[in-house]
């Protein structure tokens, strides 16, 4: 307790230095480890209202009762995580919150520039609004004003908790309750930031909303929480990009994303995940345990998940759709690339509750090096889901012969009028294709990148244009060294 208070005091002291960051940005850290004090510390730092603190504490208490029970059903192999050996709060020391982009720390701006994130107003033409999260604190939100005028709320979750408590209370935890699973429970207790989006009735959001998350601080876990609500008849496309610098330690990332689509609303959520995957010997890299779920609550609503997963040492992620509204549609498009010693266990769940609900799953897994990639998917059709339809296609591509690809589809149909279709293929890049490309002057890495991009095309083309280009490059980069 004393240590915590000292830290708080130290933090308050350093926060007075408005321009104390000409060189390296220092971090504002909570002490290592997880305890009720830490949860309270985080809550205080976030200036949570009382109800939020209570929610966190409930989650924390629940997590304590299961602290030994990480889910173990996934095909993943990693040493036990010591949850007391991580920091749960890290904020760049910024002084007061920036009012406009001009006030944002130039060092941060530089980092974002390197990542190619269009933060500057002049790039508004690109039609991208970015809510940038540096470690745990949202440092800049662009175009907020413009979006505000249209009734769109696009801000950090912390701000939403303060400014729009009714919306947050009404929806947060309704798709992923704090008791949902081990990592979601942990997140609920200690989440530090993330995005909040509300699209008002009938509005087609005129720009892509985008968040770049970046873990910068050594030994910090990042626990962001995102909540997107598309009100009746509205439409939004949201892109989440992730990248993390190289560290030898494994870092934990346990995010929660909740999407809610009301009647006739549509949400398109795209992720390009490029967290540090560890080195070629499997040292370091992000442990990515993420709970993403969408509720297609209204009739005729639609949610599309697109993910391009190239990074992380371990990926544990199943963006899902609960198809409650009649005629609602859930789609999942996924590319998961593993190289060297990476492991990915990823897929989706489509839960059909309403009548004539439809779902489509296109999953492409590419394994190289000594990596392992598993597609794990569940299609469940409940008794009332008359006329439900699912189409699932899982394709695996192997590069070399030390890697593995696995497909674990579960189909549970409790309605005789439902139709499900499942197709799966496994193939290798053929020597003949490689030779053909090389005969045209491409080096082996270019050839692999081209062939793999072709293999993933159906998924990549669902990404917004500007990100599709980035994703194509990533595909090539992440497979570097996979061919000799």
């Amino acid at each position: 307790m004393a240590a915590t208070q000292q830290t708080i005091a130290a933090v308050q002291e350093t926060e007075k230095y408005k321009y104390g960051w000409q060189t390296e940005i220092e971090s504002d850290l909570a002490p290592k480890g997880l305890s009720e004090d830490i949860v309270r510390f985080i809550s205080a730092k976030k200036e949570d209202p009382e109800w939020m603190l209570e929610w966190r504490l409930k989650a924390y208490k629940m997590w304590l009762t299961q602290a030994d029970q990480e889910p173990s059903w996934a095909k993943l192999d990693f040493p036990k995580i010591d949850y007391q050996d991580a920091y749960y709060y890290a904020a760049p020391k910024l002084g007061d919150a920036p009012e406009s982009l001009d006030e944002v720390d130039p060092k941060l701006r530089e980092t974002y520039d390197k990542l190619g994130i269009p933060l500057l107003e002049q790039e508004m033409l690109a039609g991208v609004a970015v809510d940038a999260v540096f470690d745990s604190v949202s440092v800049a939100t662009t175009y907020k004003k413009k979006l505000n005028e249209m009734g769109v709320i696009f801000c950090s979750i912390s701000e939403a908790i303060k400014e729009h408590p009714d919306l947050v209370k009404k929806y947060m935890g309704t798709v992923v309750p704090y008791s949902d699973n081990f990592f979601a429970t942990l997140n609920s207790a200690v989440f530090t930031d993330g995005s909040f989006v509300y699209i008002p009735k009938g509005l087609r959001c005129p720009m892509e909303l985008s968040t770049y998350f970046r873990i910068n601080e050594k030994n910090t876990g990042q626990f962001e929480r995102t909540l997107i609500i598309a009100d009746e008849g509205s439409h939004v496309s949201y892109l989440e990009g992730c990248t993390a610098p190289q560290r030898d330690e494994n870092q934990l990332h346990a995010a929660v994303v909740e999407l809610i689509a009301l009647d006739d609303a549509e949400i398109k959520y795209s992720t390009v995940q490029n967290w540090y995957p560890g080195d070629e010997n499997g040292k370091g890299g992000i442990y990515n345990f993420v709970t993403k779920r969408a509720a297609c609550r209204g009739k005729n609503s639609k949610v599309t998940w697109t993910q391009v997963e190239t990074g992380s040492a371990i990926t544990w992620k199943y963006p899902s759709c609960i198809l409650q509204g009649d005629n609602s549609v859930g789609e999942f498009y996924s590319v998961a690339i593993t190289n060297n010693h990476q492991q990915a266990d990823t897929g989706t769940k489509m839960i059909h509750l309403g009548k004539n609900t439809r779902s489509k799953i296109i999953a492409k897994g590419i394994s190289a090096g000594q990596s392992n990639s598993t597609y794990r998917g569940l299609v469940r059709i409940q008794p009332k889901a008359d006329g439900a339809r699912n189409f699932t296609q899982c394709d695996s591509l192997l590069i070399g012969n030390k890697c593995g690809a696995h497909t674990v589809p579960y189909i549970e149909s409790r309605n005789p009028t439902a139709l499900t279709e499942h197709e799966a293929t496994t193939s290798k890049i053929s020597d003949d294709q490689m030779f053909y490309c090389q005969q045209r002057g491409m080096n082996p890495e270019e050839a692999v990148s081209l062939i793999v991009n072709g293999f993933c095309k159906e998924v990549l083309q669902t990404l917004p244009m500007e990100f599709a280009v980035e994703a194509q490059k990533l595909v090539g980069i992440s497979l570097e060294g996979s061919v000799g």
Binding site: Y436, Q439, R440, G441, E446, L450, I451, G454, F455
Partner: protein
């Protein structure tokens, strides 16, 4: 020094000797034709030149402008100017023909120290070439060779060749599968590339092609050996007589 010098080339595939001592010099600007019965080793020669895996050179050498070609990786050979129009072109699912062409062209440009080609410039260039080869421009949006007819695949090979402007092009039965009109169009495309710096090795079963692409030399390959060489009249003779009179040589 000839552009391509093949000396006493012996090649085995899976332990079986297919080429049994080939000597062939090709000067810049020359067109050489190779004819020979099925299984005589024509495609094998084209693969050894282009560096496909699985073809073991047990004796002999190949040089390109005096450099040891066999020491180069297949992609380096391609960038050095060797092009193979495949007898059986490969399908690359999901990769638009235009993407493939652009990637190939940029690989070459990079090797030459040039910048990547501008998108508009590229489109104009390709469309121009497609028009010459009477290829419908829809084709560049389709995945390379996927669902292409036999003739379309062959035309796509020639399209790639005219775009990449290689120094030495090997055409392995590019005429088979082409209808009579296409044969003419494709031959015109090849002839348009002929010049004092560029050489061709044209593998074919049919003398007819050589009426359009008139060769400087014709070689007869039987049983992994060149059993006779001559001018274009040799092809006419083969067309009339077949390979019967070489059967003895083959057995030897």
């Amino acid at each position: 020094m000839a552009l391509i010098e093949i000396s006493n080339l012996h090649v085995s595939v899976e332990g079986k000797e297919i080429l049994k001592g080939i000597d062939l010099f090709i000067n810049a600007g020359e067109v050489h034709a190779i004819m020979g019965p099925n299984g005589s080793g024509k495609s094998t020669l084209s693969y050894v030149l282009s560096g496909r895996e699985g073809y073991e050179v047990t004796q002999g050498s190949i040089s390109l402008s005096g450099e040891d070609l066999l020491a180069m990786e297949p992609d380096a050979r391609a960038r050095a100017g060797i092009f193979l129009a495949f007898q059986y072109p490969l399908e690359i699912p999901g990769v638009a023909t235009s993407t493939f062409l652009k990637t190939a062209l940029n690989a070459k440009r990079r090797a030459q120290g040039l910048d990547e080609i501008d998108a508009m410039e590229f489109l104009n260039l390709v469309k121009g070439k497609m028009k010459e080869l009477e290829i419908s421009t829809d084709m560049i949006k389709r995945p390379l060779n996927v669902g292409f007819s036999g003739g379309e695949k062959k035309r796509a090979e020639v399209l790639q060749m005219s775009l990449l402007e290689p120094q030495f092009a090997i055409l392995d039965e590019t005429d088979s599968g082409l209808d009579i009109d296409a044969l003419k169009v494709v031959s015109d495309g090849v002839n348009a590339l002929r010049g004092p710096e560029r050489s061709f090795l044209v593998i074919t079963h049919y003398q007819r092609l050589l009426n359009y692409i008139v060769p400087d030399f014709v070689h007869v390959l039987v049983g992994g050996r060149i059993v006779e060489s001559g001018g274009k009249e040799l092809a006419e003779m083969l067309e009339a007589e077949g390979y019967a009179r070489f059967e003895n040589t083959k057995a030897a």
